[in-house]
């Protein structure tokens, strides 16, 4: 198992490192490798870098926040996806299953519709995501005596559809020249214009969400056996489920609030991680986070370099994710039964 660990986490870590460097270098304003090194060295040593100030600005003010955001959000969405998939014993589940994306979407769309500032839009998205899941959870908890997992999923689907309709309604009333493009762009996800001050508030929230996932990483396996078996093995499933849902929802809502809705990562990255590390959650979680960080970083770098205009990330993740998912299905390397 030890040598397997190297393959499991070592290679993805190396790939992530290379991606970091590449993402700093490429873009509309290419930074030559020796300039990049000079800038990094200057930061470490405190001396002058000797490169034009514009290069320093690009590296520290533009590229760094974006790279940090992509890695953080990719890892966060993958962790949330792996959690939801284990919790709902369903590999087709994504972090949106309980309506968090739809709730965040409605919050953000309302914020844009009411012409609020970016900070308010982000806060509304975050709260909207949490509120949607809370309602779904309470509805599920009210229906005792049925399969609690099934009730949650069905309530989540209903909630997602309802909120989706509400989003469409707001779009109908929105100003087609100012607000509608902003709404559309938000719903497709983007890390354009993200700053470090956008990341600072969500970083602690994501860490708070990740903590229980890390602490309860072995217990998570029990949840994927189903409610009755897990209880018979000694797990207090209702409490554990509440904790896992709260943690994964917190992570997702915080991510989505600054990035907009980026689909597919929470769905396919846990699959890829399962192929790499197996389904056991304490091995799956770090693998999923590494792959998620690398994947979103790669996709975001593509999004800003492929064409003259920025391509929304949600479109790219779907273009890459859907064929990958179909390949998984067709090749039988599903990582589930």
């Amino acid at each position: 198992m030890r040598s397997g660990g190297l393959l499991r986490l070592g290679l993805p870590s190396l790939a992530l490192l290379l991606l970091f460097v590449a993402s700093f270098a490429v873009g509309r304003f290419p930074v030559a490798p020796h300039d990049l090194l000079a800038v990094l060295w200057a930061k470490l040593s405190g001396g002058p870098s000797g490169v034009p100030p514009a290069v320093e600005t690009v590296v520290w003010q533009i590229r760094l926040p974006r790279i940090a955001a992509a890695a953080l959000i990719g890892a966060a969405l993958a962790a949330a996806g792996a959690t939801y998939q284990g919790l709902f014993r369903n590999p087709l589940v994504s972090p949106d299953i309980l309506g968090v994306a739809a709730g965040a979407g409605l919050g953000a769309v309302l914020g844009i519709f009411l012409s609020r500032s970016v900070v308010v839009v982000q806060a509304l998205a975050f709260l909207g995501g949490l509120a949607a899941v809370l309602v779904v959870y309470l509805v599920g908890a009210a229906m005792r005596g049925r399969d609690p997992v099934l009730v949650l999923v069905l309530a989540g689907v209903a909630m997602g559809t309802l909120l989706g309709s509400a989003i469409s309604l707001v779009k109908v009333f929105a100003d087609p020249y100012n607000q509608l493009p902003a709404i559309t762009f938000w719903l497709l996800g983007s890390l354009t214009a993200i700053t470090l001050s956008d990341l600072l508030p969500i970083l602690p929230v994501i860490l708070v969400g990740l903590l229980p996932l890390y602490l309860l990483r072995w217990r998570m396996n029990l949840m994927s056996l189903g409610d009755e078996e897990a209880r018979a093995l000694g797990a207090e499933t209702r409490r554990l489920r509440a904790v896992f849902i709260a943690a994964a929802t917190l992570i997702t809502a915080a991510s989505v609030s600054v990035s907009g809705i980026i689909g597919w990562i929470g769905l396919i990255i846990p699959h890829a991680a399962r192929l790499l590390a197996g389904p056991e959650f304490s091995r799956l979680l770090p693998a999923a986070m590494l792959l998620g960080a690398g994947y979103l970083l790669a996709v975001d770098t593509l999004a800003r370099t492929m064409a003259a205009i920025e391509i929304p990330i949600g479109i790219l993740t779907a273009f890459i994710g859907a064929p990958f998912f179909l390949w998984l299905l067709a090749s039988g390397r599903r990582g589930w039964q």
Partner: protein
């Protein structure tokens, strides 16, 4: 040891059975026999504390377990569900290790000792070679044994098994029953449900007949499993035949339409 005291069981607003009193003793195999919908599974879930009793109580050494935390109960009572396909391809060792949850701290991972107990549980059942296999890739009979090993890793005093022979081939059915009998011989109390009265003759020390939610009879298999009782349970005519020199009995169906004359060879 584990006893049900005038137990009524079922779901809220949908009672399944009532008036069931059983006492399960160490070292014995108690079989639950009854038709589909007779209440076997619901009774088992109630014994396991997965469903709250509608009336009466489930007691362990005389103590009502209704308010016990799951962890405490899981250290005494192990549950073997029907062999199922897991949703994720866990290694067999990981599945069996999950039986240790009641002994592992909430935030902890299993220790070396836990791994040793899990490995020993596999050895006890003669399936140590499955340790590194993938649960979703082994046969149904092997899966059933792995689930029994998982319950053994809990180190319980009582095993509750829901139709452990369902969906197994003939050989695996007998192998599983053999392991069950061996576990009882080592002092484990076993409750198992089955659809096959012959299995009761093979490994049961006592049998309880569940019919329409009530307990029709409980006692030694030879005394309880009679043609009249089987007719009442299943609505079919069955002869119960003593096998000469085998000290066991078997059921021979006498259903109209079965055992028709063979067509003449062409």
């Amino acid at each position: 040891m584990l006893s049900a005291d005038n137990l009524a069981f079922g779901y809220r607003g949908k009672p399944v059975g009532s008036g069931v009193s059983i006492d399960i003793r160490a070292g014995e195999v108690l079989c639950l026999l009854g038709p589909n919908g007779g209440g076997k599974t619901t009774l088992m879930k109630t014994l396991l504390g997965l469903l709250p009793p509608l009336a009466g109580a489930v007691r362990l050494d005389g103590v009502d377990v209704a308010a016990w935390p799951r962890k405490r109960l899981a250290r005494v009572v192990g549950y073997v569900p029907q062999a199922h396909a897991a949703f994720f391809p866990f290694a067999v060792s990981d599945i069996v290790l999950m039986g240790r949850s009641a002994h592992v701290g909430l935030f902890a991972a299993p220790s070396r000792h836990d791994r040793a107990v899990a490995a020993r549980a596999l050895e006890t059942l003669g399936i140590g070679h499955l340790h590194d296999r993938i649960y979703t890739e082994i046969s149904g009979g092997e899966r059933q044994l792995v689930l029994i090993a998982r319950a053994l890793a809990q180190e319980p005093r009582i095993l509750v098994m829901d139709e452990p022979t369902a969906s197994l081939d003939f050989g695996n059915q007998l192998r599983v029953l053999g392991r069950v009998a061996a576990l009882a011989a080592s002092g484990m109390a076993v409750v198992l449900s089955t659809h096959d009265p012959d299995h009761v003759f093979l490994c049961g020390d006592r049998v309880a007949l569940l019919h329409g939610g009530g307990m029709a009879a409980i006692g030694a298999p030879e005394a309880v499993i009679t043609p009249a009782a089987l007719k009442r349970l299943y609505g079919v005519d069955v002869q119960v035949v003593e096998l000469p020199g085998q000290q066991t009995r078997t059921c021979v169906p006498a259903v109209e339409g079965l055992r028709r004359p063979r067509p003449a060879a062409p």
